[in-house]
């Protein structure tokens, strides 16, 4: 039992890490990775939604009729997204403003619905929570790594949390401004996917 929990948890961290291995949830990946801080905030919010919606869906999996399951999943996910939205508005207001419409858009993030459909609808609650947590942490790591590349190259700083940079490039560094604009997001993610393919494609 413990072994299978560990297996479901760790597959989200490397073997099936979204969005590199499972190409899902691209919109938040591209949009919020202007800085590491935004990426981590978005990742944590998504993890919260993933864990709780997986838990609830897996508890209700024998009650939900299969014909209307997608609608039921969406309502459950939307409920948790609303909770996250209100919590962030109350406790991390600045981050809430920075992430803007991407917080309500977690509802239509394919990763969350994808895990509900592919995993939580068929497995026990404990395994589903492990799966959601693993996927969520994997997603957070992916956002943070893409955010690191974009923030260092595009802005010359690195900010983990709280708004004060922990690392700054020297005065001679000229930031590549396009890295924090849209083209940099696409090209950065494309090159990262390429790197992931180079390192250990099975």
């Amino acid at each position: 039992m413990a072994q299978s929990i560990a297996k479901e948890f760790t597959k989200g961290l490397w073997a099936e890490i979204p969005p590199f291995r499972l190409v899902l949830g691209l919109c938040p990946t591209l949009a919020v990775t202007k800085s590491v801080e935004n990426g981590i905030g978005m990742g944590i919010a998504t993890t919260f939604v993933l864990v709780f919606s997986n838990l609830l869906i897996s508890l209700l999996r024998n009650v939900i009729p299969s014909k209307v399951r997608i609608a039921c999943y969406i309502v459950i996910i939307a409920t948790f997204v609303t909770i996250v939205e209100l919590l962030m508005q109350a406790y991390t207001y600045e981050l809430f403003l920075k992430l803007g419409i991407f917080i309500p858009l977690i509802v239509v993030n394919c990763i969350v619905l994808g895990r509900a459909e592919a995993f939580a609808g068929k497995n026990t609650p404990i395994l589903s929570v492990a799966d959601g947590l693993g996927m969520g942490i994997g997603f957070t790591l992916a956002l943070a790594s893409l955010g690191t590349v974009r923030e260092i190259l595009g802005n010359g700083t690195l900010t983990i949390w709280g708004g004060t940079p922990i690392f700054e490039m020297g005065a001679n560094f000229m930031p590549f401004k396009f890295m924090i604009e849209a083209p940099g997001a696409f090209i950065g993610l494309g090159l990262m996917l390429c790197m992931m393919n180079l390192i250990g494609k099975k």
Binding site: L30, I101, V108, A185, G190, L193, N197
Partner: protein, 191 residues
């Protein structure tokens, strides 16, 4: 009238939903391998987004604001969009079979297209009037279709090129999208 035109142009080119606002990227990469599917998806998005944009505006103004339950926005919008897509699908199947055959398989995908939900939320956030919301919905959808069709055209040519193995498929797709985004950035000074 002139303002509406400027608004429409800025939504199609400058704030292009795919290339500048980062919304709707999953269908952008998923349905752009063939020109036919790209055109189908583009048309389906235009069709649904205009309806969803106006409907969610009405729901927000006359239901959520009137009853003072704006915190239910996320839940109610996704329900409106999901049921609208279902309804449009049934309606088209029954009355316009030719259009249904063209759009059919793309309609269910639109429920989880974040461009639709995103535009509805932008309309509310920017406090547009009903007419403005209608114009932006159409213009964003047209911009989506434009970028998708352009991208599909390029991707069909990439299939003929020899791409290094690790870069294949999604990876080269994203880099190409980055190049198109760069050209769209040059529209910035237009309005």
């Amino acid at each position: 009238m002139g303002d509406l035109f400027v608004l429409a142009i800025s939504c199609i080119f400058i704030n292009n939903i795919l290339l500048a606002q980062y919304l709707g990227n999953c269908p952008f990469l998923g349905t752009s391998k063939k020109m036919e599917t790209a055109v189908g998806m583009g048309m389906a998005v235009i069709f649904v987004l205009v309806m969803a944009g106006s409907l969610t505006w009405i729901v927000n103004e006359y239901l959520l604001k009137a009853l003072d339950v704006v915190y239910l926005q996320t839940v109610s919008f996704i329900l409106v969009i999901a049921s609208l897509v279902q309804f449009v699908e049934m309606f088209l199947k029954k009355s316009i079979p030719a259009l249904y055959a063209g759009l059919g398989i793309f309609l269910p995908l639109i429920t989880t297209n974040c461009a639709v939900m995103g535009v509805c939320l932008i309309n509310i956030k920017e406090e547009y009037t009903f007419i403005e919301a209608l114009v932006t919905s159409f213009a964003y959808a047209a911009g989506f279709a434009l970028a998708l069709i352009l991208f599909a055209g390029i991707r069909e040519r990439i299939l003929l090129a020899r791409v290094p193995k690790p870069l294949q498929d999604t990876s080269i797709g994203l880099i190409t999208a980055g190049m198109i985004a760069m050209t769209f950035m040059s529209f910035k000074g237009m309005v």
